[in-house]
Each structure stands twice: as C-alpha cells, then as structure tokens.
Amino acid sequence: MRKVVTFLTSFVFLSVGALVFSQNTAPRLLERIREMPRISTQEFQQNRAEIQRLIQQRQIEFRNQIREKRQEMKAQIEALREQFRDRLKARIDERKQTIVERIYERINALNEIITNHYLDILDRLEKILERIESRTTKAELNGIDVTQVEAVIEKAHQAINTAREAVKTQAEKIYQPPEITSEENLRLDVGKLRQQLHDDLKAVEKLVKEARNAVREAAVALAQIPKVDALEVPNTQPTQ
C-alpha cells in the first residue's frame, strides 16, 4: 500500500514537473527541422522566421506577466510609503524625512530600472542563441555531427531560463521601508536597505552574466566547426 502511494505521489510530482518544463522551454529550430525529411532554403527560412516570432511572443508574454504584477505592487508600495511617512513624522525632522522618503522611493524605482535592463539582455541573448542554433542546424543538414554544439546550446538555454526566473523574482520584489531605530542611526538604518538592494541585484547580475557566458560558449563551440559560416541549407526542392 505504501509503495503504491509513494509511486503515485512521485508520478504526480513528475507530471507537474514535466508540465512546468514544457511551458518554460523556448521553441527550438534544430528539433523542428529534424522532424522534416527534406527541406529547401525557403522552408528553412520560413521555419526560422516562425521560431523567431514564437521567441518574441514568449518574451512579450513574460514581460506582460511582470508588468501586471508591478501594477498590483504599485498600490502596495504606495501604502507602505504612507505608513512609513507617518512613522517618520514622529521621529525625525522634516528635511531628513523628505530625504529618507525619497531614498525609499528610489530603491523600488531602481529595482525596476535595473531588472528591466537585465530582461533586455536576456531577450537579446535568446535571440543570439537562436542564430547560433540556426547555423548549427545548417551544419547538421550538411552532414556534420553537431552533438557537442547542441549540448552547449542546451546549457545556454537552461542558463537563460534560470536567469530569467531570477530576474522575475527580483522584479516582483517589494522593498519594505527601513526600520528606523533613532535619528543618530538614520544613515545606517537606511543604508541597510540600500545594501540589500545592491546585494540582490548583484546576485541576479551574476546569473545574467552566467547566461551571457553560456551563450558565448555556444558560439565558441560552433566556431570549432571548420568553415561553418560558409555552410548553407543543401539544395533540395520544397516538400510537397
């Protein structure tokens, strides 16, 4: 009985995992072309254009999800700011109060600006990776073994997905107002919040840089194929 329950529970988790994975992976040109027995240059370009369109669509949907979440967050941040203002009024002078409020506002705004920048980078990396995959597919169509390049491309896709999820989590983060212990400790207390954002962004930046390096490695692996830039889709008639 216990074995059956364990099996079923594992099955449920694996199924959910498969579902999540199937929705998070980017469309792949290599996989698509492999399903076609023969392909003309025109068909190759059409399929590539379609993959590019799907990648872009996926990127837009991802940004829309974040945008919607941010819209919801705006009201929450505003409420936190109001509460913070009330708390500050009783403890510090007006000039310092204005500065602290401005810093708090900038913390959340800066998070949005930098995470947007990271998203731009990841979108560009994904498009570059599609180009690497396109050239790899051409090599395969010319009978070249691309197993190694394909493995590095897969790693790069994974690195981009990991970084993308990290950027999303960071973009959807709301920074709580700092805990003010005393007017003398004001700089220290507010500084902690600044440091927190800095550390969080550094951690995300590390993942985005790893994704960039993974794409670079894919480009290096592709360049190992002799005269790869000269390879084109072999001449065949369009499939009927």
């Binding site: 579902l19 590539r48 500065i99 602290v100 570059i128």
Partner: protein
Amino acid sequence: MEQKSEIKTSYIFLIILGLIALAILVGVLYSWEKKREVSIPSVTPEESGEKIAPVEDTVLSVNEDLEKIEFPNLDQAFQEIDQELNSL
C-alpha cells in the same frame, strides 16, 4: 468490521490518487499537444505570404552582437541614493 472499513478507506484513497494522477497526465499530454500545435507547424512557403527577413547567423555576426551587450554599472546606478544617504 473495523478492518473492512479500513480496507474500504484505503481503496477510496487509492482511487482518488489514481484519478488525480490521471487528470495530471491528461493535462500534461494536452498541454504538450497544444504546444506542439503552436510551435511545430510545418510552415511551407505557400502557406505564409509574409516576407522573410532572416537575421544574420554567422559566427562573426553573433560574436559581434555578444560583444555589444553591456551590463549596467551598479555603483553608478546607486550614486544618487548614495549622495542622498551622505546628506543624512
């Protein structure tokens, strides 16, 4: 009597778990099939009339674009906040 009731409960539990697993399996297959429909249509030139504008896919152009990627300078981005902090 009590043992019978226990066996019955175990069976019901098993059936419920089985149904959940089946529902998830159907969901996964449906989602996979839908994804296939969206992402793997064999597009032929006749079906699509749109102009194709392929992006350059040479290693040279790829490397050039990789080099163009710039990361924001975090210390510079924090400069305004740091100035405000120093005025406290």
